[in-house]
């Protein structure tokens, strides 16, 4: 199967195309050369014939027809490399001098073949080019010259054109085969690596393709993509493990409760037991709900269509809603909201985020703590802050509390699934806002910084 693969490979097709271009180029180049060379040779031959013709005409004009005949005979006998052939007919068509056949007795330029007179009229025919003219007394003078060299030159050029074309095409083809094989062998390494990754070896990476920086850049970029996918996959795996683990706890408790009810071992009255079971189910449903919201939000990603969210109005309403409950929990609520601040966003999701932050502050601080709710403009950004002066979160735990299901040990006894801040983080990312957890000396200070608030 190696050969067909090679033959259909992109590199090989490219080589064939290249070979074709080379062949065409060679043909064109040699055609041009041939054309110019033969044009030059024809002209040179013509020039020689004309010069000889002019000499003979001059002889005739100065010394008369007898001198011309003598000159022709003399020239015929002279041994020259560039041997001319002659024909002289009088006005009546009788041969006066020269050995050319009678068929050559025409005026102007013409070409014909003669049997080489030097070889006794036998042998192969020789192509000649001739020029004829009538002299003043009606005598026809024809001067001809052998042009077999010119024909040989043309034939030679044509042969070499074809030979070179074929040779170059063969070379390009061979080159294509070599490059194609090389390419395929290198890509095979990459494909094998991808196959291994597909089989689940997510830590496998692609080898360098080589053959040039642009190919290496490709494999580097692909590897970067694989890195990102691996991180996401690990995150996903972590989440599903966490979900299974964290749902198991309340489900187990629910099962135990129902078992106690079945056996009648719980001293509490039945309606109370049912209430407890329902509360546990609600807790489980709450975890599902939060997960669904996070999942839906992350799926929506950046293409979420966000409207204008009036943060000032929403926080004002939220502050009024929470004030009595915060007071009843013996906390102090400080609200400071700059008016008419809007951001691009989904008001319900933002409400959810702030609610989670306030609930966290209420649930994880001792009585008497102060909870601050602030909204202000910061340059062209908007800062939303929920802070408390409770125990806070240790610096090394701050990034981890944003993960799903993460719970600080000290808060495991309080209700909740550890999804609150993960949800806030998702909502912040959806809005292009940054979520910061900082030390409020003492306490926790959570800030949401929204970019480029519309005015």
């Amino acid at each position: 199967m190696q050969t067909p693969r090679l033959l259909v490979s992109g590199a090989f097709r490219f080589a064939i195309a290249l070979a074709l271009v080379f062949a065409l180029g060679a043909v064109a180049l040699l055609a041009i050369v041939e054309h110019s060379v033969s044009a030059y040779a024809v002209e040179a031959a013509g020039d020689g014939i004309l010069a000889e013709h002019d000499v003979l005409v001059g002889e005739f004009e100065t010394s008369g027809r007898a001198a011309l005949i003598a000159a022709i005979n003399r020239h015929t006998r002279a041994v020259r490399e560039d041997q001319f052939h002659y024909l002289l007919f009088d006005a009546a068509g009788a041969r006066l001098a020269g050995a050319l056949p009678a068929a050559a007795a025409r005026t102007g330029w013409h070409e014909f073949e003669v049997f080489d007179p030097d070889r006794g009229g036998s042998g192969r025919p020789v192509p000649v080019r001739a020029f004829g003219s009538r002299l003043a007394d009606g005598t026809l003078l024809v001067v001809a010259n052998d042009i077999s060299d010119l024909q040989d030159l043309r034939t030679g050029l044509r042969t070499s054109t074809v030979a070179f074309g074929v040779l170059i095409s063969l070379l390009a083809l061979a080159g294509g085969l070599v490059v194609g094989t090389l390419f395929l062998r290198r890509l095979d390494h990459v494909n094998n690596a991808i196959a291994r990754i597909n089989d689940g070896r997510l830590n496998e990476r692609l080898p360098r393709i080589g053959m040039g920086p642009e190919f290496d850049e490709l494999s580097v970029n692909l590897n970067r993509m694989l890195d990102r996918i691996e991180v996401l996959m690990n995150g996903l795996r972590q989440v599903s493990t966490d979900i299974a683990h964290d749902l198991r706890t309340p489900l187990t408790r629910l099962r135990q409760r129902l078992e106690r009810m079945q056996l009648g071992t719980d001293p509490a009255p039945v309606p109370e037991q049912i209430d407890g079971a329902m509360a546990q189910i609600d807790e489980i449903l709450g975890i599902f709900g939060a997960l669904l919201r996070i999942g839906a939000m992350e799926a929506r990603g950046a293409q979420a269509s966000l409207g204008t969210a009036d943060l000032s109005e929403m926080l004002g309403r939220l502050g009024q809603l929470y004030a009595p409950a915060i007071e009843d929990a013996e906390h102090v609520l400080d609200v400071s909201i700059a008016p008419e601040i809007t951001v691009r966003g989904d008001i319900e999701l933002l409400t959810q985020a702030v609610t989670n932050l306030i609930e966290n502050a209420m649930n994880h601080t001792p009585a008497g703590s102060r909870i601050q709710l602030e909204l202000e403009r910061d340059g062209d950004q908007v800062r939303l802050m929920v802070a408390d002066n409770g125990p806070g979160i240790a610096a090394e735990e701050r990034s981890r509390v944003l993960g799903r299901f993460y719970r600080i040990d000290s808060s495991r006894s309080t209700p909740g699934a550890g999804l609150g801040l993960a949800l806030v983080d998702s909502i912040a990312r959806l809005h292009g806002a940054t979520l910061t957890l900082a030390d409020n000396t003492p306490g926790l200070r959570v800030e949401l910084l929204f970019p480029h608030a519309p005015r």
Binding site: D275, L285, G289, R293, A296, R317, L318, Q320, L321, Y322, P324, A325, E327, D328, A329, D346, E348, L349, T351, Q352, T355, E359, M362, N363, P415, G416
Partner: protein, 225 residues
């Protein structure tokens, strides 16, 4: 009350029908959208209870068809589609309320009562009364037994909502949605705190407590209690 229930899941349907019948309601049921449209246009119901994902025409289509046919029967969506966009779509289609599954029985019953009340619109009243409690909606003045009571804005809105649903149970999420315009269920007892402040002003020191807590359901302002 005569109610129409559109629900394709047989178990859920049976559960809801029993629940409603136990409250003394008469329930017609439909399992598909076209059936619900047919019953809705031919029968006379106090409230329509509609699932969204049903065969044939979905719940949104049912409400649109009925509204287009000029039927203004209050409609409540009862559905598992609980995202913000879903609720907006439901209300835009012409429904009057939206309840997300899973739901508490008390929540469904309270919302049906509230919707049924809405039908004969009495919003033109300028004074709301319950026993010796009086709320002047124009002057925003509250008096009980002739004694003036000063309420904060939130407390006033809360009391007005209770009075408009006098004798009916209102749930925490109904109050959150209608008094504070929030569509979520916060973990803390936010409503309880507001309610205790309202009670301290409206009921404390009077012979009778008008605002009652209904265990596991919500609150009720009752003149005849």
């Amino acid at each position: 009350m005569k109610l129409l229930l559109l629900e394709d899941d047989v178990e859920t349907r049976t559960h809801i029908v029993r629940l409603l019948q136990a409250e003394g309601h008469v329930v017609d049921t439909a399992g598909t959208g076209p059936d619900a449209i047919f019953l809705g246009t031919t029968g006379s119901y106090s409230v329509l209870i509609l699932d969204r994902m049903v065969p044939g025409v979905d719940g949104l289509g049912v409400v649109r068809s009925l509204r287009a046919a000029g039927i203004q029967t209050p409609a409540l969506f009862l559905t598992a589609l609980g995202e913000v966009d879903d609720r907006v779509a439901g209300l835009q289609a012409g429904a009057d309320d939206y309840l997300v599954k899973p739901f508490a029985a008390s929540e469904l019953l309270a919302r049906i009562e509230a919707l049924a009340r809405r039908a004969p619109v009495a919003d033109v009243a300028t004074v709301l009364r319950a026993a010796d409690l009086e709320v002047d909606l124009l002057r925003r003045q509250v008096t009980r037994a002739g004694k003036r009571i000063d309420l904060q804005q939130q407390e006033y809105k809360l009391l007005e909502y209770l009075l408009r649903h006098e004798g009916k149970i209102v749930t925490r999420s109904m109050l959150l949605e209608n008094v504070w315009s929030f569509h979520f269920d916060p973990g803390s007892n936010l409503i309880e705190s507001h309610m205790s402040r309202l009670r301290a002003k409206v009921d404390k020191g009077f012979d009778r407590e008008l605002i009652q807590t209904i265990r596991g359901a919500g609150y009720r302002l009752d003149a005849d209690a």
